[in-house]
Subunit: 334 residues, 2 copies
Amino acid sequence: MKAITMADVAEQAGVSKSTVSQFLNERFDYMGKETKVKIEKAIEELGYSPNIVARSLKQKSTMTIGVIVANILHVFSTQVIRAIEDYCNESNFHIIVCNADDDPTKEKRYIDMLRAKQVDGIIAFPTGGNAELYNKLIKANYPVVFMDRILTGVPVPTVMLDNNKASLIAVSQLVKDGYQRIGMIAPPLSSCVTSRVERIDGYKQALQKHGIPFNPDYLVSGEITDLEVKIHHMLTQAEPPEAIVALNDRVLFEILTYAKKQQLTIPKDLALIGIDDVSYASIYSPALTTIAQPAFQMGEKAAELLLSRIRNKSNEGILDVYRFEPNLIKRESC
Amino acid sequence: MKAITMADVAEQAGVSKSTVSQFLNERFDYMGKETKVKIEKAIEELGYSPNIVARSLKQKSTMTIGVIVANILHVFSTQVIRAIEDYCNESNFHIIVCNADDDPTKEKRYIDMLRAKQVDGIIAFPTGGNAELYNKLIKANYPVVFMDRILTGVPVPTVMLDNNKASLIAVSQLVKDGYQRIGMIAPPLSSCVTSRVERIDGYKQALQKHGIPFNPDYLVSGEITDLEVKIHHMLTQAEPPEAIVALNDRVLFEILTYAKKQQLTIPKDLALIGIDDVSYASIYSPALTTIAQPAFQMGEKAAELLLSRIRNKSNEGILDVYRFEPNLIKRESC
DNA sequence: CTGAAAGCGCTTACAG
DNA sequence: CTGAAAGCGCTTACAG
């Protein structure tokens, strides 16, 4: 584009660069009315727009943050990003979006580059492989907020679903509906994905609470691609579960795929409840009972935490884990 | 974070800033081996990482681009963004994601801010309300690529689905399946959303091609929230359509909601085919026949076009519209 | 009420 | 093979 700079405006208006800068930053306290008008006119005529890179260099603030998710294609991440973007937009921040794909190497590259580009802070779904790096950032008082995953030993404000409760609600609902043989199907359990670990723990605790002994044959976890076989195995044992909690949307999808293929009738042959309110829950037959995460509120909270950290420059009193309530949406699948 | 600058590295290594800069930019042609080692060591010891903002100011390139979508929550946009991000990541670019919500004012604000932040180029789903602004950018030789929408009079490379063909495939499939009374349901038709206009045109042309007269009562369009009433009206007329083409995923959702509520059996009571391959198409009962957009290829193409524009600084020969083939995925709903 | 000057952290001819 | 110097386009004390 054109290369109109502040110097050009200053010349055109017949004032100094300093004065133009004052004008742009709305420091009008001592500015003559005439001066103001002259500058306004010059800006208009030249079509001047300030170079924010130059400002950023001087002010050490870029008004942009980085958001590192596992994969933007996951609906939860998309919703969180949308909420973050809305919040940032109101505060005149922009967001750089990065997909780490649960790969610590990729995550590290992004963190380093974002830092080099001087973004004012980072919101991350951490992979778990860069605890040390994050700790370095924190020690340097760099603003970081985590989402969905807790890294032990990394003291960062973290926004989480109350996963334990989500499982409790799910199991309780199934019990209430008269089921006793309740299973859970889960993705692989790497220990860094806190939400998964917590949901499984919550499932076990909920069973206990209801006086149902935990049966290891009723808990299946594995890569999405292997799940079909494992589900088959689980459901064809001597005394299979009558009801299943799907740990997340992608597991639910696999169960539904299996159910369709085997022509199982839901909930008669198999009752279902899923954590994550999938888009098609209400139009499925039967409509699917789900437990929704308040993704937008969670994203907004993360943005709020980060921006307040950025503005206050302090690390005080916000090293907590913020828990959000899961919402049961009762439909027809159990 | 720490405030280690190139000057610190230079001092520590006992060389000048220039030399450090040469080192960082891998201009090793004339650099002594010893010097190299000294600098490497200094960087390591100090944990130096260059300030890219400073570099950007000097080089007039930020290695970041802006992506303005209508709404990241639309699945197509999410997929396009993911593809763009992947492509950019390979080329060491970052993306700033913006939601314009089909609001020209919001779009303008984003464009202005992105420009001010000196992003190297913009990929947009344009709202249609800022043709003039875009033309200014283009005249200033600023790299812009459009996605999904054509603005007449704005000469920019544009990535599009062959929407006409998508409708043709849909109608032809329905005809082949023995349906003659074929309707289409669509979102509102503001003239700027090219894809919608083209799909409707395509629908009409396809009917003609198959010798079926166009019946205005079989074409319904309106706000998503009003669609249920309109669908009801359409399907309860004397001789209602036996089959329907859903213009996009959101329309399809409304039709399915209606069908479930009215307990219509698909395809017996109503055959369906949807443009956009929705996530639940394969697990729905019956599985839904859809026409998929190659969203990832389209996003990749947009990124490729933009980056090559950025690198070549020329506007030559790429002012075309790039059309992508829709893919029929035949399932059970028609 | 306004301007001259220094500085943010780099890069880049140019000189030697 | 390396360094001094100017400059990218802003902001910010400070002087007047």
